[in-house]
């Protein structure tokens, strides 16, 4: 029970990060390996707001999200669009975007290390015990999970309820056909990429309330987000949420029952299982 609830709380924030990556990969077709660094940037911004201005991390989201949106939009417009145009086939775009986003991730880590050093950063926010079913949990984890659920819920409502959301899902299904029915595919892709980055940064700000982070921790989150997206099925939001919860619970179970050093191994084992038995994702249909 204890494991399930802790896992659920962790899975909630994972789900948000994976949703961001899902937008970027599912709609904009950019496999963004710098997503973990975006998360660290969000976390660092929240940390900075809290220590310098006593701003609550939840409030700092109002600053983090628009900034990340603008930054990611610029990255897409000026760095990734040329690659999209140059690519002759999806395979080449995949290779190019992987290398380019890797480069950006390393540059980000390099700048962070140069500017702020490799120190761990953490702050205490809402460190109060809460009782659920007789066991105690930290309030900050619960708040982070609820906030993540709220952001994710809004995103889903927008995707499934508005005209722009429908257009975006159309691009995810087929960029070519979307263009034929009058959807501005490049603009939609840029929007999706920017939105995905904003979501990832918000997830980072939320995670920073209960986890200690440092400049180079991003790649770990990237890997987890990737595993979740693949497990849930590319472009599938429901699958991503379910996969995130499963991963959160599995990680917590392994950390408490076996060894905290094996969490990544747990994630990878699930990844292998998915690749072997359901490569199309949890809810995905087998390609005809």
């Amino acid at each position: 029970m204890d494991i399930v609830i802790t896992g659920l709380l962790l899975g909630g924030t994972y789900a948000l990060i994976a949703m961001g990556l899902n937008l970027q990969y599912g709609v904009a077709r950019i496999m963004n390996l710098a997503t973990g660094e975006m998360l660290v940037a969000g976390a660092f911004a929240a940390f900075w707001c809290h220590t310098a201005g006593q701003v609550s991390p939840l409030l700092s989201l109002l600053l983090v999200a628009p900034l990340a949106f603008a930054g990611n939009w610029m990255v897409y417009r000026f760095m990734l669009r040329p690659l999209v145009r140059r690519a002759r086939d999806p395979g080449q775009l995949e290779v190019d975007s992987i290398l380019a986003t890797f480069g950006m991730a390393f540059i980000f880590v390099g700048i962070m290390l140069a500017g702020f050093g490799g120190d761990y950063f953490s702050y205490s926010y809402l460190v109060e015990p809460v009782d659920i079913f007789g066991a105690t949990y930290a309030l900050n984890r619960i708040v982070a999970c609820l906030a993540a659920a709220a952001i994710g819920g809004l995103l889903c409502l927008w995707l499934y309820g508005t005209r722009t959301g429908v257009a975006m899902r159309a691009v995810a299904v087929s960029p070519r056909s979307a263009g034929l029915v009058g959807i501005d595919v490049p603009a939609m892709s840029a929007l999706a990429f920017a939105l995905g980055g904003a979501v990832a940064a918000s997830g980072g700000a939320l995670i920073s309330t209960f986890l200690t982070m440092d400049a180079s921790v991003g790649v770990l989150f990237t890997m987890k987000a990737l595993v979740i997206v693949i497990m849930g099925g590319v472009g599938d939001m429901r699958g991503a949420i379910l996969a995130a919860v499963i991963l959160g619970i599995a990680e917590t179970a392994v950390a408490t029952l076996i060894d905290p050093g094996l969490t990544l191994a747990a994630a990878y084992l699930m990844f292998i299982a998915v690749l072997l038995f359901r490569p199309q994702g949890l809810f995905g249909r087998r390609a005809a």
Binding site: G91, E94, V95, I98, F106, G110, I111, G261, F271, L275
Partner: protein, 309 residues
């Protein structure tokens, strides 16, 4: 063999012979650096043998390398060193085979993601095993092999990789891989067993990386998971191979020399800036030299020839 091919072979042989004389000239810093360069040369070239034609980016070099190192570290007191090298080759091939079978049947992204975490996965497993069942975290490798021996061994490995790569290039499997790299659907329709060919070549590059790890184990003397599975190695190898040009067998070598030199300088002068260097190099590969220095040289040569004729 054509006349040009014969000339190239002779040139390569002369190059190797010249390189082999280096330990007679200098035993100090130059030799140490040469060992590093030779190590990267083997790793980058064997990486390109698989990733060049197929365009699958493998980030697992560190996993195989670490595996090889560990095979030697665990067995050095029990088994003779040459046998351990053979075991390392085998271990690398088996691990690559497993990973390949699980991921290479699917699209390239799955492969990249999986290899990205492989080194960390193996490191966590090794650390956990050592913590729970072993006596200590570190292991000692004490041999009477000197730096010169390691250098010569690496040179021999380089030569072997080159010969193998050259043979692959003109064999049926090499041709099949080039078709796969150009269009996998076409390859399948031609009746090529795409998965089997990819797995076979990936096993080769994995085995070589493990062998290099095993060859370098005596250099470290003390080995722990952090040293053996340093993830940065995978990225360095990718950068060097792509910077030089993975499309040609001799391409990676063009990337290895300048990048290894630059890396030496940067890590000596600004040890905190190596990550930044790695990032810039990645962007350079994508935006400035997409086909590597080798690709640039070839277009230049073509232009020159056309200008003359």
């Amino acid at each position: 063999m054509s006349r040009a091919g014969g000339w190239r072979m002779a040139l390569a042989a002369a190059g190797f012979a010249l390189a082999a004389l280096l330990p007679l000239v200098d035993q100090g810093y130059l030799l140490t650096f040469a060992v590093t360069v030779a190590m990267y040369a083997v790793l980058a070239t064997s990486w390109a043998v698989f990733s060049g034609p197929t365009r699958y980016i493998s980030l697992a070099t560190a996993a195989f390398y670490g595996l090889g190192t560990y095979v030697v570290a665990i067995g050095i007191d029990v088994l003779p060193y040459p046998l351990l090298l053979l075991l390392a080759l085998l271990a690398g091939a088996v691990l690559a085979g497993i990973v390949g079978l699980a991921t290479l049947r699917l699209s390239g992204v799955y492969f990249v993601i999986f290899t990205l975490g492989l080194a960390e996965l193996v490191r966590q497993l090794v650390t956990w095993t050592q913590n729970n069942f072993g006596t200590s975290r570190g292991l000692y490798v004490l041999t009477d092999l000197t730096e010169s021996h390691i250098y010569w061994e690496l040179l021999a490995a380089t030569a072997a990789v080159y010969l193998f790569g050259w043979w692959i290039g003109r064999s049926r499997i090499g041709f099949a891989l080039r078709i796969i790299g150009n269009d996998e659907v076409v390859a399948e329709h031609c009746g090529i067993g795409t998965a089997a060919s990819k797995v076979a070549l990936f096993m080769f590059s994995g085995a070589v990386a493990a062998l290099v790890g095993a060859l370098l184990a005596p250099r470290w003397t003390y080995i722990d998971p952090g040293i053996a599975f340093s993830p940065i190695l995978s990225f360095q190898v990718v950068i060097m191979a792509l910077l030089g040009g993975a499309g040609r067998l001799w391409g990676p070598l063009l990337g290895v020399l300048p990048f290894a030199l630059l890396w030496e300088v940067i890590s000596a002068q600004f040890p905190n800036q190596t990550t930044l260097l790695l990032g810039i190099a990645f962007l350079l590969v994508v935006y400035v030299v997409p086909h590597g220095v080798a690709g640039r040289l070839e277009t230049l040569l073509h232009a020159l020839r056309r200008g003359r004729g």
